[in-house]
């Protein structure tokens, strides 16, 4: 396989660009050529699903913004020619999850109800990435309104395939982001993580994904799902690129009152300082959990997949050899309540956020004659939303209804306090554990086949079993590749940390990357890229 410019991490490309070894236009062209080779037919709201002729294709992009990208690349090359600093992400092809507004582009949320919506402004993290020199290639597919863990619920079909096996899902909801970065169709991507939507697809596709602390990155311009859980964050080839993206996107924003003004550290500083003296925990509560049996659907206590278990424990050994202190048997007893709490909290917030789509001010309007405004709402929302938004709205309304609210919503918010308390305790420097990070698997299984889970909304939700506690608690989580299972599918491991400890998590992740840099699995590339 020939390594093209589009296969390199951003930090190598920026160096080449600054050294005059290539131009931004060449990096862009290399990425466009890759898209041409592997993308296949563009997803649309008219297609029924994946046809046989789509097998082997990625279908990551809902919208390509090629002309915008060419102009941006040209400006970068001009700036360099004039001796100006074009920014830390100069010339880096960026895929934006289509849940972010990007001025002048269709911003669809993967939904028919927003399929014709053109954003009048850009989201803050997108603005910051473009100001740092990133070249916006387009908007990538996702589960409808981010509601899913496989990307199959998008109204834009065919949904993306996993570059490592296109008959399997890339994960979700940032499935287009992870698939595009893994296949060389973008070098970096901006995703969002509400229950694991950056980390789970990153794990499934063998790339790096970081969910920042809630409030670290502005949500301005992000089409809202669950406002107390949504976190924009990076999807990249390696840890260094995730650190660079964090330096660019993190920080206060006058347009988002929940974006904190705490100073943003330089996430690249000390990145390669290693893990000597750091305390890294592993918890039995992340190895054996209650989740539905795929056949019967019954909730039962089961271990995570054996290959994944092995990789997590192997990572602990590697980090121990590098000088980390591994703390075993860390207890987080409320981990098992993560999904039930999320089922309640996220639905209530989603229902609140999704009442605004009415077919009147923007988006899809039912085109046939209707009797009155009420029927217009019902028909527009009935046709415009797919089953996943409908499920979330209905459940959110049910569990927050006056007669049920105390038993469901309030209880879930109280259990959320206990989940947060688990993390407060293990990361408290005064506590016995006093951890710098918690090492877990990112997912209980590797990527599952397309069609194997979608439709069973309970089983699908449990794909986020190991990632959702961090969202409920607000703490940061980093997923990095850690090898492959016996079927050749990527395995991800996750590091969780205290609020605003992204730099430390990246340092731990980078240490693992350095220690495993020469392992044979690091050389593997998806089969589909062998002939491009």
């Amino acid at each position: 396989m020939t390594i093209s410019l589009c296969d390199l991490p951003a930090h190598q490309l920026v160096r080449k660009l600054r050294d005059g070894e290539c131009t931004a236009a060449e990096i862009l062209q290399s990425t466009l050529d890759r898209i041409q080779a592997v993308e296949g037919s563009p997803p649309t709201t008219h297609a029924a699903g994946k046809e046989s002729h789509d097998a082997g294709d990625i279908h990551a992009y809902i919208t390509l913004t090629t002309e915008r990208a060419r102009l941006q690349a040209k400006r970068i090359d001009q700036a360099l020619a004039q001796g100006e600093d074009p920014g830390p992400l100069a010339g880096i092809p960026l895929a934006v999850k289509d849940i972010f507004c990007v001025e002048g582009t269709p911003s669809t949320a993967g939904s028919k109800i927003l399929a014709n919506f053109v954003a009048p402004y850009s989201a803050t993290p997108v603005q910051r990435l473009e100001a740092a020199g990133a070249v916006t290639l387009g908007k990538v597919n996702l589960d409808e309104f981010t509601f899913g863990s496989s990307n199959e619920s998008s109204a834009f079909q065919p949904s993306p395939g996993n570059p490592w096996d296109s008959a399997r899902v890339p994960g979700g909801s940032s499935g287009g982001s992870a698939a595009a970065v893994a296949a060389g169709e973008a070098v970096i991507s901006l995703g969002t993580d509400t229950a694991g939507s950056i980390r789970q697809p990153a794990a499934f596709c063998g790339v790096v994904g970081l969910k920042p602390t809630y409030g670290r990155v502005s949500r301005y311009g992000l089409i809202a799902f669950a406002s107390s859980l949504d976190c924009p964050g990076p999807v990249t080839r390696d840890v260094r690129d995730a650190a660079t993206m964090m330096n660019v996107i993190a920080g206060k924003d006058a347009h988002d009152a929940t974006a904190v003004r705490s100073p943003v550290p330089n996430h690249l500083e000390g990145l390669e300082d290693g893990v000597k003296g750091l305390r890294i925990g592993i918890s039995p509560d992340y190895f054996r959990l209650k989740y539905p049996d795929p056949e019967s659907g019954d909730l039962q206590e089961q271990p995570i997949a054996a290959d994944i278990d092995e990789r997590v424990r192997g990572a602990a050994e590697i980090l121990a050899k590098m000088g980390a202190e591994i703390v075993e048997d860390v207890t987080l007893p409320n981990t098992r309540y993560g999904i039930p709490v999320y089922f309640v909290v996220s639905r209530v917030e989603a229902a609140s956020n999704l009442h605004r789509y009415d077919g009147v001010k923007y988006g899809y309007r039912y085109p046939e004659p209707v009797a009155d405004l009420r029927e217009l709402y019902r028909r527009s929302r009935g046709k415009g939303f797919g089953p996943q938004p409908k499920l979330r709205i209905l459940m959110g309304m049910y569990v927050s209804a006056e007669q049920y609210e105390k038993g469901y919503y309030q209880k879930a918010l109280r259990v959320r306090t206990l989940i947060r308390g688990d993390f407060d305790r293990i990361f408290d420097p005064q506590d016995d554990y006093a951890l710098d990070g918690l090492l877990t698997a990112t997912t209980p299984t590797t990527a599952f086949p397309l069609g194997a889970v979608y439709g069973d909304s309970v089983l699908m939700q449990y794909a986020d079993l190991l990632t959702v506690p961090a969202n409920l608690a607000g703490v940061p989580g980093l997923s990095i590749p850690a090898g492959f299972d016996t079927q050749g599918l990527p395995i991800g491991i996750q590091f969780l940390g205290a609020d605003f400890s992204e730099a430390k998590l990246l340092r731990i992740g980078r240490a693992y990357e350095m220690a495993t840099a020469d392992e044979s699995w690091r050389k593997l590339r998806p089969d589909m890229l062998q002939n491009v």
Binding site: V118, P120, E152, Q157, T213, G215, S228, L229, K252, A254, A257, A259, V260, K290, G297, L299, N334, Y337, I339, P340, V341, F343, V344, G359, K361, Y362, D372, L373, L376, R381, G382, K383, F385, G386, P387, K390, L391, L394, M395, M397, Y398, V399, Y408, K411, A412, L413, R414, V415, R416, T417, R420, L450, V453, Y454, G455, S457, V458, L472, G474, D499
Partner: protein, 121 residues
Amino acid sequence: MIAVEVIVTRESRDYGLDEISEDVFRHLVELAAFHLEDDEAAYLRRELNGQLKAIRELDAIEVGADVPITSHGVPFAAAMRLPLRQDRIEPSTAADDILEQAPDVEERSIIVPDIPHEEIT
């Protein structure tokens, strides 16, 4: 296979739970302003009851009123927050762009069908 507009590939299960009865479901659908076909309604109700079964896992834990609620995970101390902006009118140049998004516009007004009402005599 469920005949809803967006493909659903896995047959949904019967969870043996009917907490959300047909009547409750119809009420929710009316409040949510959805027009649903019968097969889609049946699928959604079955899934909602399945999700409630998962939510019932919370029954296993006693949580007293002394445990405060957490509306978002990270404590949001005043020192971390930006002061609220002044409530100031600022000119916007995007009004036409925004109006262009509306499905039906006439002379810069958004057109809607009749609003349900009763004549007062």
